[in-house]
């Protein structure tokens, strides 16, 4: 009896234990099964089209219904990021002033609105808000500026009676405030949006910005070497029956840079003529300079961005020639596009997503660099740091030379030098300043093409010193002109 009771008890314990073990095993297997199903599903359907989108859907939230991963990362462009040379200091509400940190920038821009307000960059999410808040708007600004600070295409179509190119051509003569008000009225006041780089529904990459389309056509028609853009070389060797069309001719890997090149470039953006990308003679600093030097405004006066308030030199202002400088670098030459480093692929389970949190690759070294470079993260960061530090030091040196030149011009003026006698010095100031600004305004601290950046800065320092000498010898040099 006692034995039977014990056996029965043991049997019950065994039963309960078995049940527990089997329950745990079954639960684990089910969890695994569901995990596998989810991964298979992710691998099978990259997206589900719940919300049809069209050309007039400029609100990214609408697109976000279909492409939540991309939309989520896009929203992160509002996050504050900093690298050693990039990103912003200052408060969350307002980035720090660049012109306070590098006082020579302020002297460079005397006579131009950038001497009033020139701050560190923030992410894509702020492009429109920051533009609407800048104190540069206390001076008259052209409607052209919205080409790149808003999702502008529906407004261009409206202004051009359906033809975006015509609307674009009309917008430069309007004031910034006028175009901005229309944008808000039409409910398209969004920063760069999905529709600006993607064809609705197919999501294929495309370029929409008229400035870029005209600029790249001019580049294709020029004789400038573009070994990193094979589709242009192919178009050149063809019958040239129609103009080069990036949306038809460019390869996928080129489109991954072209979409960024719609805005991250040098341009003219004021009211005297339509927004212009100066690529008709090539993409190098001196080719762009030559383009501007040979450009005449519609009113017949020679091209200039502003007259330097201190010296009277006709100055060229470089904007942010990232596309141009990248074009001269080893990454471009090796077929590495903007998106490869600034929007690298990332995984979401079994699916592959382009990171739409566009940011410095230094904040994302494992995905941005290590895919190709088989070195540690620390090593990659150190390599970049060396390049940027050298560029920074060389830039300060070139800027010091330019400041010396401005001092020499001021001294010559004080000693009675006239406008005629200062022409050589002022011409050299324009050349030196263009080159410094080309690298200083560019947002990579020289990284996009280190050797090219050093070459341009070296020329800048040389022109500035030549200009200093010319100003000091104004009596002789001026007379020979």
């Amino acid at each position: 009896m006692i034995n039977d009771g014990r056996r029965a008890k043991r049997g019950r314990v065994f039963l309960v234990l078995t049940m527990l073990v089997v329950a745990v095993a079954t639960a684990a297997t089910t969890a695994l099964l569901i995990n596998i199903t989810e991964r298979k599903e992710e691998g099978r359907s990259p997206y589900v089209l719940l919300q049809p989108v069209g050309e007039d859907d400029t609100d990214p939230a609408t697109w976000g219904v279909n492409w939540p991963s991309q939309y989520d990362s896009y929203l992160r462009t509002a996050v504050t990021t900093r690298t050693r040379f990039g990103g912003h200091g200052g408060s969350e509400a307002m980035p720090a002033e660049k012109i306070e940190r590098d006082p020579w920038l302020k002297r460079l821009f005397l006579g131009y609105a950038f001497s009033i307000d020139y701050r560190d960059r923030r992410g894509h999410a702020y492009m429109l808000a920051d533009q609407e808040a800048t104190e540069r708007l206390t001076k008259p600004q052209s409607g052209s500026c919205l080409h790149c600070h808003a999702s502008i295409m529906p407004l261009y179509r409206e202004l051009g009676g359906g033809d975006a190119m015509q609307g674009f051509a009309a917008s430069h003569a309007m004031s910034y405030q006028e175009v901005n008000a229309k944008l808000h009225e039409m409910d398209h006041a969004h920063p760069v949006s999905c529709v600006d780089c993607h064809t609705p529904n197919t999501m294929e990459l495309r370029v929409t910005r008229p400035g870029f389309i005209l600029g790249i056509q001019a580049l294709a028609e020029s004789a400038a070497e573009v070994p990193h853009l094979p589709s242009i070389q192919e178009w050149r060797s063809g019958d040239r029956e129609r103009p080069y069309d990036p949306n038809l001719d460019a390869r996928r890997s080129e489109m991954r840079s072209y979409v960024c090149g719609q805005c991250h470039v040098e341009y003219y953006c004021s009211s005297k003529m339509p927004l212009t990308f100066p690529w008709g003679k090539g993409l190098k600093a001196e080719q762009v300079e030559e383009f501007w030097d040979t450009t005449i405004f519609p009113d017949g006066t020679p091209f200039l961005d502003y007259v330097h308030a201190e010296t009277g030199a006709p100055i060229l202002k470089a904007q942010h020639p990232e596309f141009e400088l990248w074009s001269q670098g080893i990454h471009a030459r090796s077929g590495v596009s903007c998106a490869d480093c600034h929007m690298p692929y990332m995984r979401e389970g079994a699916s592959k997503v382009s990171d739409h949190w566009v940011r410095s690759p230094l904040l994302n070294i494992n995905r941005a660099c290590q895919t190709c470079h088989h070195a540690s993260e620390g090593e990659m960061a150190a390599r970049v740091d060396v390049i940027q530090q050298r560029n920074h030091d060389l830039m300060q040196r070139a800027a010091a030379a330019l400041m010396d030149q401005l001092d020499a011009i001021a001294a010559a003026k004080a000693a009675g030098a006239g406008a005629e006698q200062l022409v050589p010095a002022l011409t050299l100031q324009r050349k030196a300043q263009w080159r410094i600004d080309f690298i200083a305004a560019e947002n990579s601290m020289g990284f996009h093409a280190p050797q090219e950046a050093a070459r341009v800065l070296g020329e800048a320092a040389d022109y500035a010193r030549q200009g200093q000498v010319a100003a000091m010898n104004w009596k002789e040099t001026g007379a020979t002109q």
Binding site: L33, R39, A350
Partner: protein, 172 residues
């Protein structure tokens, strides 16, 4: 044993049989659904079951070796116990990593697997290069074939960024 005791015991056995049978059935279905048997084959398609290796697979198809070598020809020892140990080791690590999504990015070959790879280069090309790469599978400072010939197996760079680990991790 009493009649009642026997009925009790057979009921217990029945319950156990149903329980364990159900669990086994679920397990068997999961194994089949996950294409478990494909991993016993040498078919390269098995390596893209989980999609993570898709870029590597695509790049392999564009490589010079795709007509002469499948995944396992380079990435597993040729035969014997070593092959099954390597298979089990990789199988465990890959399925754990993919299920828990806890692997480091970018995906890189492990030191042990790099040795297997080098041995497989030499298995075919050893006669040609034995003067160049003496000790290349054992010396610490030895030159690996793929150090220079990186694109023979996977064509051009086969890269993929890595998972979004959440804002906090991203900002670290």
């Amino acid at each position: 044993m009493s009649r009642r005791g026997r009925i009790h015991e057979s009921r217990t056995a029945l319950v156990l049989a149903v329980l364990i049978g159900a669990a086994f059935g679920l397990g068997a279905f999961t194994f089949d659904y996950a294409e478990g048997t494909s991993y016993l084959s040498t078919d390269p398609a098995a390596c893209v079951n989980c999609h993570i290796m898709r870029p590597q697979y695509d790049a392999w198809q564009k490589s010079s070796h795709h007509t002469v070598a499948r995944c396992v020809d380079c990435h597993l020892p040729a035969s014997g116990l070593a092959k099954w140990i390597a298979k089990a080791d990789n199988g465990y690590r890959h399925s754990k990593g993919f299920t828990l999504q806890d692997f480091p990015e970018p995906i890189r070959i492990t030191p042990g697997n790099a040795e297997i790879l080098q041995a497989n280069c030499l298995r075919c090309h050893g006669d040609l290069v034995h003067d160049l790469v003496a000790g290349s599978t054992t010396d610490r400072d030895a030159i690996e074939c793929v150090h220079c010939h990186r694109d023979v197996g996977h064509g051009e760079q086969a890269g993929l960024g890595g998972a979004d680990r959440g804002l906090e991790e991203e900002l670290r």
